[in-house]
Amino acid sequence: MAVATSTDITPERPLPPRGTHRRRWGIALVLSLAALWSVSGLNISFNRLVTAPGEAWTVLQQMVPPAFGKVYERGAVGKIFESVYIAWIGTLIGAILSLPLAFLAANNVSPRWIRAPIRQFFNAVRAVPELILAVIFIPITGLGPWAGALAIGVHSIGTLGKWATESIESIDSGPIEAVQATGGQWVNSMRWAVIPQVMSTITSYWLFRFEINVRASAVLGMIGAGGVGSELVSHLIFRDFPAASAVLILTVVVVLTIDTVSAKVRRRIIVGSVSDMDSSRSSEALADLTGLRR
C-alpha cells in the first residue's frame, strides 16, 4: 500500500459509527434507574443518609481505647483459637470428602452418569451459605463448635470439589495414556498420572479455603456455633464498644497472621510444583484466583 503524499487525492474520512454513545448512556440510565428503584424500595430517606455517618462516628469514638484486659479475662483469646480449630477441622472434612468426589466428577476420568449428579451436588452445597447450614445442623448436634465445623465442612465440600474437578480436568492427558498403554487400570492412572500433576494445586486450594473458613467460623459464632462470634455479639448487644473493638482487633490480627503464613506456604507449594512439571493450566487458574505469581 503506497503511502499518501501531498500529491495523492486524500481518501474520504469515515463517519463515526452510530450507537456507541447511545449504548453507553443507555447502560448508565439502566443502572441509575435500578439504583433509584432500590433506594425507594428500601425506604432510605435522605435524612437517614445524612445522620448515619454521624451515628457511625459516635460508635467509632466509643470503641477507642479497646478493652483488651477485660476481653482477655473473658477468654476471648481462647474463643478465637476455637474459631481456628473449627476452620481447620471443617476444611479437613471438606478436603477429604471432596477429593474422591472430585475425581468422580471430572470429565476426563469419569463417565457422564456418575459425573452429573456429583457436580449438581457440589453446586447445591456451594449455594447454601455456611450460616444456613449451621442453622440446619444446630438442632441436630446442639449448639457449639461441632455444628460450626460441620457447616464449614459440608459447604467446603462444594467449593473444594468444584476447584479440584477443574484442576483435574485441565491436566495433560499424556501420562494417563501412558499408564493405559502399560496395561494399568483406572486406579493406577489416578495414582500415577493424575495425582502427581494435580496434588500441589489442590493442596494450595485447601489452604486458601482454610483462610476463608477462618473468617466464616468467626461469623458462625454469632449464632452459637462456636468461636469468637458469640463474644462480639454479646459485647455489641450490651453496647460495650471498647470490648467489641478489642475482640475485633484480636480477630483481625489472627486472621492476617494466618493469611500471611498460608500465602507463604502456598507460594512454596506452587513454586515447587512448577519446577517439577510443565505448568498446567490449573496452576495458572490458582495463580489467578489467589494472586500468587511464580
Partner: protein
C-alpha cells in the same frame, strides 16, 4: 554392558523436616478435633434424626404468599443492586491506587493497601453486625454492610487484573506527556474494563446470596424472615424459602453468564 550397582545414585531420603511437619500437622488436627467436639457418630445420626420430618412437606401456600416471602425477596434484590453499585464504584479508584502500575504516588499506594488488608481481614458479618448496632436494624445497615463486602471482593479481584495489565499503552500515554489520571484512563482502563464488568456481575450474584445471610443478623431482606422462622422452628417454611432462593440465584447466574459472554 552393565554398570555395577555402586555406580547408581542413592535414593533420596525423605527429609526429617518433612516427617516433622507431617507429625505436627497430625497432632494439631487431633488436638483441634477434640477441642471442637468432633464426633463421627453425627455422620450417621444425622440421617435418622426425627427432626427431618419437620422439614416436609413444604407449605407452598405460605411460601408463595406475597407479603411473607416475595416482598422480602425483592428487598433482598434491591439491597444487592445498591450495594453492588456502591461497592464496585468505590472499588474502581481504590484498585488503581493499590496497584504499583497505576498508583499516583507511594503514600497513596501504601495507605490503600494497608486499609484494604484490614478491611478484608474482618469477617463480613462482623461488619454487618457492627453497622447494625451503630445505625440500627434493617435494610439500610444491610446495604452498607454488603457495600463494604462488595468493595473488598471487587478490590481483590480487580487489582489483580490491573497488576497483570499490558503496560505498553501506559508507557505511550506517559511519553505523550499526559497527567496521571488521563494516562491511566486512556492507557490501562480500556484493557481492564471487560474484567471489571465481569467481576461486578459476579459480585452481584454473591450479594444476592449474601443478603440472605445478612438478614440473620438483622440487616433486612429475606434473611430476616429466615431468622424469624428459625426461632419458631418452622423448618418446613425455611426449606421452602431456601428452594425459592436457589431458583432466584440460578436465574441470576445464568443471566449474568449470558451477559458476560456478550461483553467479552
Amino acid at each position: 554392558m552393565t554398570t555395577s550397582a555402586s555406580a547408581w545414585p542413592t535414593r533420596p531420603q525423605i527429609r526429617v523436616r518433612t516427617y516433622g511437619i507431617t507429625l505436627a500437622l497430625v497432632a494439631f488436627t487431633v488436638f483441634a478435633a477434640r477441642k471442637v467436639g468432633f464426633s463421627p457418630s453425627t455422620f450417621w445420626e444425622v440421617w435418622s434424626n426425627p427432626l427431618w420430618e419437620k422439614f416436609w412437606p413444604i407449605p407452598w401456600e405460605w411460601v408463595l404468599d406475597g407479603d411473607n416471602v416475595i416482598k422480602p425477596l425483592i428487598e433482598t434484590f434491591q439491597i444487592a443492586v445498591l450495594s453492588t453499585i456502591v461497592g464496585c464504584s468505590l472499588a474502581l479508584p481504590i484498585s488503581f491506587a493499590m496497584s504499583p502500575l497505576t498508583t499516583p504516588n507511594q503514600p497513596t499506594y501504601l495507605v490503600s493497601r494497608a486499609v484494604m488488608n484490614v478491611v478484608r481481614a474482618v469477617p463480613d458479618l462482623f461488619w454487618a453486625k457492627l453497622l447494625v448496632t451503630a445505625i440500627g436494624i434493617g435494610a439500610f445497615a444491610g446495604t452498607w454492610a454488603l457495600s463494604v463486602f462488595s468493595l473488598a471482593i471487587m478490590v481483590k479481584l480487580f487489582s489483580e487484573t490491573i497488576d497483570n495489565a499490558d503496560s505498553g499503552p501506559l508507557e505511550a500515554a506517559r511519553a505523550a506527556g499526559g497527567r496521571h489520571t488521563p494516562v491511566v484512563r486512556t492507557g490501562v482502563f480500556p484493557g481492564v474494563f471487560p474484567a471489571y464488568v465481569s467481576y461486578a456481575l459476579y459480585v452481584f450474584e454473591l450479594n444476592i446470596r449474601a443478603s440472605v445471610v445478612l438478614g440473620l443478623v438483622g440487616a433486612g431482606g429475606i434473611g430476616r424472615v429466615l431468622e424469624a422462622q428459625r426461632q419458631f422452628f418452622k423448618f418446613d417454611r425455611i426449606l421452602g424459602i431456601l428452594v425459592l432462593i436457589f431458583v432466584v440465584v440460578w436465574v441470576v447466574d445464568h443471566v449474568s453468564v449470558a451477559l458476560r459472554k456478550r461483553l467479552v
